[in-house]
Symmetry: C2
Subunit: 187 residues, 2 copies
Amino acid sequence: MPAPLISRDEVVERLLTVFQRLGYDGASLAELSRGTGLGKSSLYHYFPNGKEEMALAVLRRAHAWIEQVVVAELEGQGSPKERLERMLRALDSFYAGGKNACVLGNLVVGGARQLYQRQLRSAFSTWVEGLESLALDAGISRRTARERAEDVVLQVQGALVLSGGLDDPTPFRRMLRKVPKEFLAPE
Amino acid sequence: MPAPLISRDEVVERLLTVFQRLGYDGASLAELSRGTGLGKSSLYHYFPNGKEEMALAVLRRAHAWIEQVVVAELEGQGSPKERLERMLRALDSFYAGGKNACVLGNLVVGGARQLYQRQLRSAFSTWVEGLESLALDAGISRRTARERAEDVVLQVQGALVLSGGLDDPTPFRRMLRKVPKEFLAPE
DNA sequence: TGCAAAGTAAACTGATCGGTACAACAAGCC
DNA sequence: GGCTTGTTGTACCGATCAGTTTACTTTGCA
């Protein structure tokens, strides 16, 4: 039966939630089919190269989201503090207050790592560089800026792992409050 | 053929490296067999409940390692600073300077998460509580101690994810230098 | 020397894996 | 109404999945 039902973007979005929840190896075609509401033939219609292409589309989507939401907030209007806090609010909503995992973090595991190392590095780099620019805007020195930018991404990822491991979103929420203080502190 | 060849502990140790590398879903019996050098029948001799029991044994081993190495270093001789740095050196060696992943972090992903939530929480808690005790020893106030303890674990996990994603151990190494300063800073 | 137990290899099971073939279907255009 | 194009369900493929069975070999012990 025809009539798109849902757009390709919507399909990728739903695929993302499955990979986010189960990682690459854990996301079977059956789960990807359930998660999208599409049969396997439809998935292969959108992604002729199968699961590998689905994960690639998801990584491209994640990268685009980092550019168009995360970095965009960092480059938006207002003081560095306001911009950083807008980014953190976007993360808070995307990660559901620490209850969701990070699709990038989950794709660093297992078979996906070698397969997507380039894309993963690129996505993390974009994120770090956006934060680095913000730090420079805030008057932080060049080398400190890079370190603080990496620290933010590092702490977001660590908070998601720890909150996942403890099954308690508290560390994630505390991290959200702590990051702005450290990031913008005088050197 | 009989004659243990390798001890059960040695088997668990080798299983750990496979789960550490591939996660739960990515660690097939074929890989677990290759990684241990044992045939499937031998693995099922040691672990009648199969992969689920293997991962459980690995988590027990990881928990024991946290108690007997990580926490033991924290409770050992010397100043809080020295003890913390001994723990970090143990982590540095275990994670191969940031090139290895954390088996706990990798088992938070996918099918393993629900299966082992209790064990994961317990392992992370033991680690955090060991650090909290050290902070109290160092004269840090009760509530700050808990936060700083969580921060250390959070930063170790985050550094491993970021170093994995960037395929560059630099963030992990920088984290090792940064943690002692923050952890023992005056309040 | 004999024998139970520990350990192992190889061949096997049914289920699920990722992936394919194909026919049926609806919408847009003529 | 035909025709093309895009989309879908169903049935299927070989490979691999986790797990089992069986028969064998070696060891420790009596």
